[in-house]
Amino acid sequence: MLTTRRVLETFKQIGITHVVGLPDNSTAALFHALADDPDIYLITVTREGEAFATAAGLWIGGQKPLVVIQNTGLLESGDALRGALIRMRIPVVCLVSYRGIKSLPNPPPPLTPDELSRREVDSVAALLEPTLRAWNLSYELVGDNSDLEKIVAAQQRALQNNFPHFILIADTIR
């Protein structure tokens, strides 16, 4: 299980100053907690592309932002991700909630028109990891408090490479 308290502790462990993003059902509790947290400044945006550009500006100005969005928003905001965090080489960790992960068959479905339109499969889940791989973006899955060290490692890797690193949130944060 992923808990808000442990996720926030992890953010503070790696020195996060700002969280920029947009909530969904699986990150709602985290956003509620962030709204009341005295140590981390929450910036809720109207569209995910804003989050990447704002995070870039925060980093330029010397802060340590982290982005939290849903996988639908990641697909919506591709050019902002490309033109801000990737093109600018900004070392920011991005948490992306993995909507629809439980609808994915094992192995994942081929990305055919028939599969992408099946009502049993959430197509954004089917497209998430292939999209990240196609963009050569590194990522880790986090689905339990015992996985949270991956966020620490992601921050280190982002800093080492001057490049964003992605964490896919595979369960609801409670």
């Binding site: 995070a55 870039a56 500006g57 980093w59 330029i60 010397g62 033109g83 801000a84």
Partner: protein, 198 residues
């Protein structure tokens, strides 16, 4: 209606140690007037998001003023960011909108709502504490000193004549120094300058 020079020259004359983020047709035009180390060209980047990058810098550097020189077409690409900026109460952010009603760098095609969009009233409706519109060069210059010292975030839209700037590029042969490095180099240089002078 102002010319691009009537918009930018008074601003360049009054510029002190503010960070200036320019984008699209304003990149080269500003670069011809200023060679300051706190100039940043939002070019070869995420189209429509210059004001969000400026917001991030402003929140990170509350002791400095940040001026964002945005275009009307660029602003329309992310109007929701006006709500985010207002919500964040970035007191040190001034957002200029050069309103020439066209996509200048692609040859002056009309933007959606050309002539009808009222950016300063949109900003007020989004929660900006103050917003202004100018279509007269003398009035703009007469007010500029006062505007640059107001508590932000403020939006200033300026009605401009259509110009003929081509798209900004990043090449070693650029006349504008802040376009000669890669976007990543420019970003990391500005980061280093801000950390050094903090």
């Amino acid at each position: 209606m102002l010319t691009q020079a009537e918009f930018l020259q008074p601003l360049a004359r009054r510029r002190a140690d503010q960070i200036v983020v320019s984008t699209m047709s304003l990149v080269r035009a500003w670069g011809r007037l200023s060679k300051h180390e706190l100039d940043f060209a939002f070019a070869d980047s995420a189209m429509g998001h210059a004001q969000s990058l400026a917001l991030g810098i402003a929140l990170a550097q509350p002791q400095r003023r940040v001026l964002c020189l945005n275009g009307d077409g660029s602003m329309l690409m992310s109007l929701g960011s006006l709500v985010t900026i207002a919500q964040c109460r970035a007191r040190n952010l001034i957002l200029f909108i050069a309103q020439n009603n066209t996509y200048e760098v692609t040859g002056n095609q009309n933007i959606p709502g050309a002539g009808a969009v009222d950016f300063h009233n949109i900003a007020l409706a989004c929660g900006f504490p103050a917003a202004f519109h100018f279509s007269d060069a003398r009035e703009y210059e007469a007010q500029l000193d006062k505007l640059l010292h107001l508590q932000g975030p403020i939006l200033i839209s300026v009605r401009l004549e259509p110009g003929h700037e081509p798209p900004p590029n990043r090449k070693q042969t650029e006349d504008t120094p802040y376009l000669r490095g890669s976007l990543a180099d420019s970003v990391h240089r500005l980061h280093d300058v801000l950390m050094r002078t903090e």
